[in-house]
C-alpha cells in the first residue's frame, strides 16, 4: 500500500493498491488530483477520508505527521504580542486554575478547516514539554489547553500553534454563552441516545412484527426481543426524555398547562405500561413508539434551539470581533502593546492596515477605508479620514490610522448593539403571547379529549384503549403550534440585523407589517444632514476648478460643516488664515489674499458692489479677492442616495408617506418635490410633530416615524414604531424601536417586506399546525393511527413549521423598484 500510488498509477487503486478493473470509472479527487479507484468501496472510503479532512493519510501513509512551518517573519512580529499573554493580569481574564500548578485556558484557533488540522495541532501541541492536555473542537474551533506554567510559557505554546500554521488567541466566554454551550452539548447527547435507542427499538419491533406476519417466532425469541427492547429504551426514557418530565412537573406546580404535560404522560405512560407488559409477559409493548416520540421531540427542540442560537450567537459573534490587544502611543511618541481592555477614552492608538479597530474613536491622523460589514451589512469599505468616527470591531483596510479612543466597554457601539438585540429578543410580541395562550388551551383540550377517548375505548374495546390514547396524546402534541411564532420571529430579527436594520423591541416586526403611515423627518433622515456643494457660479474669468481650489485651500483648516463640503477639491492650504466666526475665512493662496463666506464679509475686502445672488432658494457663499467678487457657491443638504427609490417603493407597498420637518426654508418643498412626497408638513416644532402623530394614530393609522435619532427623540417615542438613522444615534441611549445601522433607507423597505413575510409565515405556521391537529386528532381518536405513525406525524408537522420559519433567514427580497433604477451603486447591487 505504501507505494501503490507510484508503482503503476494507471492501473493500481490509489486507495488499496488493487488493480483497477478495465472500463471502470471510480475516481476521487484527492489533494486536487483525480485518483482512480478499483471499486465503489474504495471510492467511498477515500471520499470519506478526504471529506473528513484526513488527506494527510495519503500523504504520509503511516509516516509520522510532519509539522508545517509557518511564516517565520510573521512569527517574529507576533512574538511581542504573544508575550502579552504571559502577563498575569492578562491571563486573569481567560485562564482558570491559576491557584494550582496547572493552568487551564480556552483558546480560539483560526485557520482550522478540517479534522486533519486538529489532528496536526493536537499532535504537535501535546508533544510540547509542560502541556498536560490539548484538545481542539472542530466545530467551534476552540481549544482547551492545560499546561504547567513553571515548565512552559503560554506565549511559547501560542507560538508553536503559529508555527504549524494556525493562529490562536484567548477565548473569553461570557457566562451566557457558556450556558448555551452546555445546553447544546447536553441536547446533542440526548439526541444521540434517543436516536440510537429508538433505532434499536424499531429494529426489534420490526422483527417482532415480521415474525408475527410470517407465522410466529419461537416464544423464547419473542421474549428475548421484548426484553432487548426494554433494555435499549430505558436510557432513552430515563435520560433523554428527562427534561420533558422535569418541565412538566415544574409546569404542574406552577398551574400552567404546557405541551410538556401531555408529552410526559404519553412517554412515561407508554413506557411504564410496556415495562409492565414485558415483565409479566402480557399485552403489547410500545417501546418503539415512545422512544421514537422522544427522539422526534428532541429533534424539534434541537432545531428550535439552533434557530434561536443562530441569532443569539450573531450577537455574541459581534463581541468576538474586538481584538484583544492594541498599540497605544505614549506621550513621548513611543508605542506600546497593551491589552485592549486597558484602553481608556483619550488614549491614542495605532491601527495597522488589516487589523481590527479595538475601540470606538475618532481618526486623528491618516486616511484609510474601513470595512464595517460585520456591523452594518455594507460590504464596500467606507473611506475615512481625519475627524471621522470609527467603530470598534470594524476592520481598517488600507493604511495606518491613528485614532483617539472615545468610548470603551459597555458604552461602545458594539456592546450597545448586542444589548439592544438581546432586549428585542426577550420581549414577546403580542402574536407570540397569543400563540402561547392558544397552545395552553389546546393542551387542556387534549388532556380532556385523551381522557374521553380512553373511557370510550375502554367500553368499546379495552385492549385498544391504551394505545389509542397514547396515539392521541402523541399526535396532538402542540409542538408545531408553540414553535410557529418564536422561530419565525427569531429568524427574521437575525436576518434583518445582518442586513443592517437593528430591531431593539419585540413588537417591531408586527407593527412594521401592520403600518399604514410612514413619516420621515427631513434633515439627517431623507437628507444626509450635511452640506454639500451643489453649484459653482463664476463671476470673473477664473474657471470653476480654479475657484474650488482656492476655496478648498481657504477652508482647509476649518472644522465648520461648510468647510467639509470643499474637502474633495483640497490641493494646498492657505497661509495667514484668519477665521471670523459666523462670517468667513480670509487667507493667502499663491500670494494673493482671498476671503470666503458671507457676501458682506467678502465685500469688505474688495470694497465694491455686491453681485446678485443667482437665486434665493439656497444658501450661497461668496469668494472674493482684493479687487472683485470671484464666484458664488451654492451649498445644500444632499438628499440621501436611494431616498427616492425607497419612498416610491414604500408608496407602492401601500404606505402613506409624509414628511414632517422643523425646517421652514424653501428647501423643504424642494426636497419633497424631488422625492415625490405630496404630504409635507414644514416648520413643525417637536410638539406639533408629536400632536400630528397622535392625531393620525387616533384616527386608526399605524405610524412608523423615521428620524435621525437626535433632534426628534420625543417624536420618535410618540409613534407606534420608531426608526432612527444609525450613524447619528447614540445607541447606548436610543429609544428607537429599530435602528438603521447601515444608514441605507432602502433597508427599511427590506424590513417592511420581511416583516410582512414574517407575519404571513406565522399565519401559515399557525394554520398548518391547527389544520394538522384538526385532521389528526379525530383520526387518532378513532384508532386509525398507531402510536409510532403518530410520532412521525407530530414530527413532520413541527419540522414543516420550523423549516417554513427558516425561510426568513434568507436575505430580504430586493425592493421591486431597485430593478427599474439605474441609480443604484455597485456597492449596493452587490449585497
Amino acid at each position: 500500500m505504501r507505494n501503490s500510488s507510484n508503482v503503476d498509477s494507471s492501473l493500481a487503486c490509489f486507495h488499496c493498491g488493487s488493480p483497477v478493473p478495465k472500463g471502470s470509472d471510480f475516481t476521487t479527487l484527492i489533494q486536487g488530483e483525480k485518483r482512480s479507484m478499483c471499486c465503489p468501496g474504495c471510492q467511498a472510503v477515500a471520499e470519506t477520508i478526504v471529506s473528513g479532512g484526513l488527506d494527510n493519510f495519503y500523504r504520509h501513509r503511516g509516516d509520522d505527521v510532519r509539522s508545517e512551518t509557518g511564516d517565520l517573519l510573521q512569527l517574529q512580529e507576533l512574538t511581542q504580542e504573544l508575550a502579552l499573554y504571559d502577563r498575569p493580569d492578562v491571563q486573569k481574564t481567560f485562564v482558570s486554575g491559576m491557584e494550582s500548578d496547572t493552568y487551564d485556558a480556552m483558546l480560539v484557533i483560526e485557520g482550522i478547516s478540517c479534522a486533519a488540522c486538529i489532528w496536526l495541532l493536537e499532535n504537535h501541541l501535546s508533544r510540547q514539554a509542560g502541556v498536560v492536555r490539548f484538545s481542539v473542537n472542530l466545530s467551534n474551533h476552540r481549544a482547551h489547553l492545560l499546561w504547567k506554567p513553571d515548565e512552559v510559557k503560554l506565549s511559547h505554546l501560542l507560538a508553536e500553534i503559529i508555527q504549524v500554521g494556525y493562529k490562536a488567541h484567548p477565548y473569553h466566554p461570557d457566562k451566557e454563552e457558556q450556558l448555551l454551550q452546555q445546553e447544546h452539548k447536553r441536547s446533542v447527547i440526548r439526541l444521540g441516545i434517543a436516536g440510537i435507542g429508538s433505532m434499536q427499538a424499531m429494529m426489534f419491533a420490526g422483527a417482532l412484527y415480521a415474525a408475527d406476519m410470517s407465522g410466529g417466532m419461537e416464544d423464547k425469541y419473542v421474549l428475548l426481543m421484548r426484553w432487548a427492547s426494554l433494555v435499549v429504551s430505558t436510557p432513552v426514557i430515563l435520560y433523554a426524555a428527562l427534561p420533558f418530565l422535569r418541565n412538566a412537573l415544574r409546569d404542574i406546580k406552577a398551574r400552567h398547562l404546557t405541551m410538556d404535560i401531555p408529552v410526559s404522560i404519553a412517554i412515561w405512560g407508554g413506557y411504564v405500561a410496556s415495562v409492565w407488559a414485558t415483565a409479566f409477559d402480557t399485552g403489547e409493548i410500545y417501546f418503539e413508539s415512545v422512544t421514537m416520540f422522544t427522539f422526534f421531540l428532541l429533534i424539534g427542540r434541537f432545531m428550535e434551539m439552533k434557530a434561536r442560537q443562530r441569532t443569539g450567537s450573531a450577537g455574541n459573534a459581534l463581541m468576538d470581533l474586538l481584538p484583544t490587544s492594541a498599540t497605544r502611543i505614549l506621550a513621548g511618541g513611543t508605542e506600546e502593546l497593551v491589552p485592549a481592555t486597558d484602553l481608556r477614552p483619550g488614549d491614542r492608538i495605532l491601527i495597522k492596515p488589516g487589523h481590527t479597530i479595538p475601540a470606538d474613536g475618532i481618526i486623528r491622523q491618516g486616511v484609510s477605508s474601513v470595512d464595517e460589514s460585520a456591523l452594518t451589512g455594507e460590504y464596500m469599505p467606507l473611506s475615512k479620514r481625519r475627524g471621522d468616527k470609527v467603530v470598534g470591531g470594524t476592520i481598517n483596510v488600507e493604511s495606518l490610522l491613528e485614532v483617539e479612543v472615545t468610548t470603551v466597554g459597555e458604552k461602545s457601539r458594539l456592546s450597545s448593539i448586542v444589548r439592544l438585540l438581546d432586549r428585542a429578543q426577550t420581549e414577546k410580541p403580542r402574536i407570540a403571547q397569543i400563540a402561547d395562550k392558544v397552545a395552553s388551551y389546546f393542551v387542556g383540550a387534549t388532556l380532556i379529549v385523551a381522557i374521553a377517548v380512553y373511557t370510550a375505548w375502554y367500553f368499546i374495546e379495552p385492549a385498544s384503549a391504551f394505545w389509542v390514547t397514547l396515539a392521541v396524546l402523541v399526535v396532538t402534541c402542540p409542538c408545531a403550534l408553540s414553535l410557529a411564532t418564536p422561530t419565525a420571529l427569531t429568524a427574521a430579527t437575525g436576518t434583518l440585523r445582518q442586513a443592517g436594520l437593528l430591531i431593539t423591541r419585540g413588537h417591531v416586526l408586527e407593527s412594521f407589517s401592520k403600518a399604514t403611515h410612514i413619516l420621515f423627518d427631513k434633515t439627517g433622515t431623507l437628507t444626509e444632514g450635511r452640506l454639500a456643494l451643489q453649484e459653482t457660479h463664476p463671476l470673473a474669468e477664473l474657471s470653476r476648478n480654479e475657484l474650488l481650489r482656492i476655496a478648498a485651500a481657504l477652508e482647509a483648516q476649518s472644522e465648520h460643516p461648510i468647510a467639509r463640503a470643499f474637502k474633495p477639491w483640497w490641493e494646498v492650504s492657505a497661509d495667514q488664515v484668519e477665521m471670523t466666526l459666523g462670517q468667513g475665512i480670509q487667507g493667502q493662496v499663491d500670494g494673493q489674499r482671498y476671503r470666503i463666506g458671507k457676501p458682506e464679509y467678502c465685500q469688505a475686502l474688495y470694497q465694491g458692489a455686491l453681485p446678485d445672488m443667482p437665486d434665493q432658494e439656497r444658501q450661497w457663499i461668496l469668494l472674493a479677492n482684493e479687487t472683485s467678487a470671484l464666484g458664488w457657491f451654492a451649498l445644500d443638504d444632499q438628499i440621501r442616495r436611494e431616498a427616492y427609490e425607497t419612498l416610491s417603493a414604500l408608496q407602492k407597498m401601500g404606505l402613506k408617506v409624509q414628511m414632517v420637518s422643523g425646517d421652514t426654508s424653501p428647501a423643504v418643498a424642494r426636497t419633497a418635490e424631488k422625492l415625490g412626497i405630496t404630504e409635507v408638513y414644514s416648520g413643525m416644532s417637536p410638539e406639533q410633530k408629536l400632536e400630528h402623530i397622535s392625531q393620525l394614530q387616533s384616527q386608526g393609522a399605524r405610524v412608523i416615524m423615521v428620524g435621525d435619532g437626535i433632534n426628534d427623540i420625543p417624536v420618535l417615542v410618540g409613534a407606534q414604531t420608531s426608526v432612527s438613522m444609525g450613524a447619528a444615534t447614540d445607541l447606548a441611549k436610543t429609544n428607537a424601536d429599530a435602528v438603521l445601522i447601515n444608514n441605507h433607507l432602502k433597508t427599511l423597505v427590506d424590513g417592511i417586506l420581511l416583516s410582512r413575510k414574517t407575519e404571513r409565515i406565522i399565519k401559515e405556521n399557525l394554520g398548518l399546525s391547527l389544520a394538522y391537529n384538526v385532521i389528526a386528532l379525530p383520526a387518532a381518536s378513532m384508532g386509525m393511527i398507531p402510536p409510532y405513525i403518530a410520532s412521525i406525524g407530530m414530527t413532520a408537522s413541527s419540522l414543516v413549521v420550523v423549516g417554513n420559519a427558516l425561510r426568513l433567514t434568507r436575505r430580504p427580497p430586493k425592493a421591486a423598484v431597485v430593478r427599474s433604477s439605474s441609480l443604484t451603486t455597485p456597492a449596493k447591487a452587490g449585497t
Partner: protein
C-alpha cells in the same frame, strides 16, 4: 447435502473474503491503531472497539435482512432466495479472485446509502477515544462493500432474523483476523494477502461454497 447456511460457512466467507477488505479498510484500521492522537488509551482498544462496532452493524443488518427474508420466504420464494444466495457466493468468489468484478455494481447501489452516512464517518475520524472508534466502526459497517452486501443477501436465505444475524456475526468474526492483523502489521500482511495466488485460492473456495449453496434438489423438483 451439507447445510451450507451455517455459522461455520459464514466464518469461512469472512475469512476468505477479507483478503479483499484489507486494502480498503485495512488502512483505516492502521490509522486507528497507530495514530491515536492522545496517549491515554491503548491502541489495541481502538482496534477492538472499531471492529466491535463494525461487526454489530453487520449483525443489525442481518436482523433486518433476515426479517425481510423471513417475510418473503415460502416454497417458491425460498427457492429463489436460496438460488440468489448461491449465485452471489459464486460472484463473490469471482470478485475476490478478481476474475470478474461484476459485484461492483452491487456496491454502487450501496454508494447511495453511504452518501448519507459519509459525513457521519468523516466527522468521527480520527477517533479520539474508544467510544468514537466504536461509533466509527458501526458506521463503517454500512460501507458499500460487495462482500458484505452479498453475504447479507446470502444470509437472508436463512429465513429468520436471528439466524441471519448469527450468520452475519459469523461473517464479521471471519473478517476479524485480517483486520486485527493489519492494524498492527499492516504492510507485511498486505504483501502476502495481495498475492494473486492467495486471492485466487480464496476465490475458488468461495465459488465452490456458492455452488454448494445452490438448491440443486429444489430445482430438480421444481422442474419435474
Amino acid at each position: 447435502m451439507p447445510e451450507t447456511l451455517a455459522f461455520s460457512t459464514a466464518l469461512l466467507i469472512g475469512l476468505l473474503g477479507s483478503t479483499h477488505c484489507l486494502g480498503m479498510c485495512g488502512g483505516i484500521a492502521a490509522s486507528l491503531g497507530l495514530k491515536t492522537p492522545t496517549q491515554s488509551f491503548h491502541p489495541g482498544l481502538f482496534l477492538l472497539a472499531y471492529n466491535l462496532g463494525r461487526i454489530s452493524s453487520y449483525g443489525l443488518a442481518g436482523i433486518l435482512m433476515g426479517s425481510l427474508g423471513a417475510a418473503l420466504i415460502s416454497a417458491e420464494g425460498g427457492l429463489l432466495l436460496r438460488s440468489l444466495a448461491g449465485l452471489l457466493l459464486v460472484s463473490m468468489g469471482l470478485y475476490v479472485s478478481r476474475w470478474w468484478t461484476g459485484l461492483t455494481r452491487l456496491e454502487s447501489l450501496g454508494g447511495y446509502v453511504w452518501r448519507y452516512l459519509r459525513p457521519l464517518a468523516s466527522r468521527l475520524m480520527p477517533a479520539r477515544n474508544p467510544l468514537q472508534a466504536l461509533a466509527l466502526g458501526a458506521v463503517w459497517g454500512w460501507l458499500p462493500c460487495g462482500l458484505v452486501y452479498s453475504t447479507l443477501l446470502w444470509s437472508a436465505a436463512a429465513g429468520s432474523p436471528e439466524k441471519s444475524a448469527l450468520l452475519m456475526l459469523g461473517f464479521g468474526l471471519g473478517t476479524l483476523p485480517a483486520m486485527l492483523i493489519t492494524g498492527v502489521l499492516a504492510q507485511q500482511m498486505q504483501q502476502l494477502l495481495k498475492k494473486r495466488l492467495t486471492q485466487q485460492l480464496a476465490g475458488t473456495t468461495l465459488i465452490l461454497l456458492g455452488l454448494l449453496t445452490l438448491p440443486w434438489q429444489g430445482w430438480l423438483q421444481a422442474l419435474s
